[in-house]
């Protein structure tokens, strides 16, 4: 649905061939596209206006560098300013108070407070060895307290026992007292979801805050939120001294404009992002990643992180050693394919890549998807050990056997072998020339394994 902003800006600047400083007319033209991109990404209108005005000021008169197009130049200005506005890279928690440090979680219904509370406790335990006590103050949503109790059990975190009939403030006080007496470092208070315009409930959460004096007060918000993000953020901030924002459902395919809206109107740092349903799916916030995403440019930083997290380092070293010797075989290719599947398959990877729209369509047209990875793996697994080590022995009848054994066709087997041949040629080059050779041969190496080269050109 969305074309990358870079493409659109380049189109807007196509007629513009002259170089030198960016004129006001150039900038105005380019920023119209930026405005569209930001609005499509759900950045609130008032924030978009401020943003565009600020970028305009920076851009007019800026020198266009020789090596880039004016479109790219504006993208860089926009991206840098966006990163700057989204704030510092990693904002640490301020928990250095007399224990127990209280963390208060607040937000609208369905924003993900309860899940985030459990994830946060687990993160604090793993990263800081903090002993956390979880407590649910949600006396309203049916089974909300049970939900936190179950999550606590799954995460191995203690949860304050449920006492029926207690109100939120009484539970908060009991949690604080229990944590103090039993020597917990941190107590996380999960509150009921509430509308920012619900006076009665906003009073209640303010009273909880006053009674427990939290070290951190986190506003939990859905990354898919639209224009209303500013109202929510502004009104929570007006009633509660919010110290940070947690954005959930970043693993969806929303563009995340709410991040900029909320940061801009509250001035509060985005401290964490929720990236999945598992209890360890809570990560530090990186402005550069979200900035690229808001602009529709994909999230390279996250891709790299994901690769780092899932790639087995020992395995990578072993592979590198084999590559040095020029001895890359089909077993290695199989491992590469498995690695890709582990990183979330094609869909998962594509979602993080820039310029996705176009490539995705091409891939779909070329029928490159996860089932293709699975079929390629099946082909390799249908070979004997000897064949995998030395594919040269694969004559016509062996290929026929492999095709029927893996439920594929001879054409598919041939395609895989050709692809393997190209890869191993490149690997040999790298073995001979080291990294420099690798870079020279990049068009082939730039593609991850599993991509048919014809399908992308």
């Amino acid at each position: 649905m969305f074309d990358s902003l870079t493409n659109r800006l380049n189109a807007a600047f196509e007629r513009l061939t002259r170089r030198g400083a960016l004129s006001e007319a150039d900038v105005t033209e380019g920023l119209r596209e930026v405005r569209v991109a930001l609005l499509e990404a759900d950045v609130a209108l008032s924030v978009v206006k401020d943003f565009v005005a600020q970028v305009k000021e920076k851009a007019i008169g800026a020198e266009v560098l020789r090596s880039v197009t004016p479109g790219q130049q504006i993208i860089k200005l926009v991206h840098d300013h966006l990163v700057e506005m989204l704030g510092e890279d990693e904002s640490e928690f301020e928990l250095a108070v007399e224990p127990p440090a209280v963390i208060l979680m607040a937000g609208l219904q369905g924003s993900g407070k309860t899940t985030t509370s459990a994830k946060l406790a687990l993160r604090l335990l793993r990263q800081r060895k903090s002993r956390c006590l979880l407590a649910s103050l949600d006396t309203r949503r049916p089974a909300a307290m049970e939900q936190l109790a179950v999550l606590g059990k799954q995460a191995g975190i203690d949860v304050l026992p449920i006492v029926a009939g207690q109100n939120a403030i009484a539970i908060a006080k009991r949690a604080h007292e229990t944590a103090r007496l039993e020597g917990y470092d941190v107590v996380i208070l999960d509150t009921a979801g509430r509308l920012h315009v619900d006076e009665e409930l906003m009073d209640e959460v303010a009273a909880v805050h006053a009674a427990t004096r939290p070290a951190e007060t986190l506003l939990v918000a859905d990354a898919l939120t639209g224009q209303d993000a500013v109202n929510v953020a502004r009104q929570f901030k007006a009633r509660l001294p919010v110290t940070g924002i947690v954005l959930t459902r970043i693993d969806g395919d929303g563009r995340g404009g709410a991040a900029l809206s909320m940061r801009a109107v509250t001035g509060c740092p985005i401290k964490l992002i929720g990236v999945g349903e598992k209890l360890d799916a809570l990560e530090a916030f990186h402005p550069a990643g979200i900035a690229s995403r808001i602009l529709g440019m994909g999230d390279i930083v996250s891709l790299v992180e994901k690769a780092q997290a899932t790639v087995d380092h020992k395995e990578a070293e072993r592979l590198a050693a084999k590559v040095q010797k020029g001895a890359f075989d089909l077993d290695d290719l199989a491992k590469q394919i498995q690695q890709m599947k582990k990183m979330g398959g094609m869909d998962g990877l594509m979602g993080l890549l820039p310029g996705v729209g176009k490539v995705k369509k091409q891939l779909a047209a070329a029928k490159v998807d996860d089932s293709m990875l699975a079929r390629q793996l099946a082909i390799i697994q249908s070979m004997t050990k000897a064949e995998r080590r030395n594919p040269k022995v694969l004559n016509g009848s062996r290929r026929r056997r492999i095709a029927s054994g893996s439920g594929t066709t001879i054409q598919e087997v041939n395609r895989l072998l050709k692809q393997f041949q190209q890869m191993s040629d490149m690997v040999k080059k790298v073995g001979k020339m080291g990294m420099k050779g690798m870079l020279r041969g990049l068009p082939a190496g730039a593609l991850p394994p599993g991509f048919p080269r014809g399908g992308l050109s």
């Binding site: 649905m1 569209v36 609005l39 499509e40 990404a41 759900d42 609130a44 209108l45 609208l108 219904q109 369905g110 924003s111 993900g112 309203r140 949503r141 049916p142 089974a143 909300a144 049970e146 939900q147 936190l148 109790a149 179950v150 999550l151 799954q154 509308l195 920012h196 315009v197 859905d222 898919l224 939120t225 639209g226 224009q227 209303d228 993000a229 109202n231 929510v232 459902r249 693993d251 969806g252 395919d253 929303g254 563009r255 404009g257 709410a258 349903e277 398959g345 869909d347 979602g351 996860d370």
Partner: protein, 316 residues
């Protein structure tokens, strides 16, 4: 929701409740439009401002532009009043929404009529099911609920409580991570045997870009057909009114997976304007069968195009 609030809610009529639910929404939008139009010649600058007001209501850039262009054709350069501009815009929006304002239709030939409820996490599926069940029970139908969210902690307990409130049976399995499709199948068979009139299946929240979770939803849809090729008879997608333009992707992908028959828009009692439904109506034409305007059991309302559009623009 406290007892007294629930009672107070029940006393007021439909129109008052819808208006109350949309009051804050309307306030914001009508304030901004009121500020823009002050009884003078409608010019480009004013049109731009009108467009911005619509964008702020989550109508989306393209829809906002189209609506404003339509207005420009009629009234550019003319002397206009505040009331007139709002009326014209509301009329345009109502024209778009009218074809999709269709309540949930139950076919009594289906025994039971199977309703599959899907959506992204946290949009309000379980709450909506509780309210739907209550409505149908009030109409004298027998209803059975299926706790198909076997993933989220305590989701089963949550639905059971709604089952108690609405006075209907809830079919569930004890262990988390149980096969939702198998459960739905068994419940369908049980409802058939008992002659239950309506079977409502809750499902786990899922982000539409997670292929394996969408496959799981397809599987639920598929196994129900083994007992009745026409089931599920109604597949509802629950959308959160605070969601912005991502609602487009949600509808598109869920629709592709299980052929959505209708939308429910929840959380319209906040300041979120839910304007994205206008764009969705144009693009997909899916019926909006109900809207959620609060946490109480009777806070589910039919979607009425005229009332929604007029309330959205602060007109009565």
């Amino acid at each position: 929701m406290s007892q007294s609030a629930e009672k107070a809610g029940r006393k007021s009529g439909f129109f008052a409740r819808l208006k109350a639910g949309l009051a804050k929404t309307a306030q914001g939008l009508s304030d901004s439009i009121g500020a823009i139009i002050t009884g003078r010649t409608l010019d480009r600058a004013m049109l731009d401002q009108l467009e911005e007001a619509l964008i702020s209501a989550d109508l989306g850039l393209a829809t906002a532009e189209e609506l404003v262009e339509a207005l420009a054709k009629q009234k550019l350069g003319r002397e206009v009043s505040d009331e007139e501009v709002r009326g014209a815009l509301a009329g345009e929006i109502a024209r778009i929404l009218l074809p999709v304002a269709r309540p949930l239709a139950l076919d009594p030939a289906n025994k039971p009529h199977v309703i599959l409820v899907a959506g992204v996490n946290g949009t309000g599926k379980t709450t909506t099911i509780g309210k739907l069940a209550h409505q149908m029970r009030a109409e004298g139908r027998s209803v059975m609920l299926v706790a198909g969210d076997t993933f989220r902690a305590a989701a089963v307990e949550q639905l059971k409580i709604w089952g108690q409130r609405a006075d209907c049976a809830v079919i569930a399995r004890a262990e988390t991570g149980a096969d939702a499709a198998g459960l739905a199948f068994d419940a369908f068979a049980e409802a058939k045997a008992k002659g239950t009139e309506v079977l409502i299946i809750d499902t786990a929240g899922r982000l539409q870009n997670k292929a394996h979770l969408m496959d799981e939803l397809k599987k639920i849809d598929r196994v129900l057909k083994k007992l009745d090729p026409s089931a599920p008879h109604t597949r509802l997608l629950v959308l959160d009114a605070t969601t912005g333009q991502n609602a487009h992707n949600q509808v598109e992908v869920f629709k592709e997976a299980v052929k959505i028959d209708g939308l429910v828009m929840t959380k319209l009692d906040g300041t979120a304007k839910g304007g994205v439904v206008v764009a969705l109506a144009k693009r997909f034409g899916l019926p909006i069968v109900a809207i959620g305007v609060g946490e109480a059991i009777d806070d589910l309302r039919p979607f009425e195009a005229e009332a929604f559009s007029r309330a959205l623009l602060g007109l009565s």
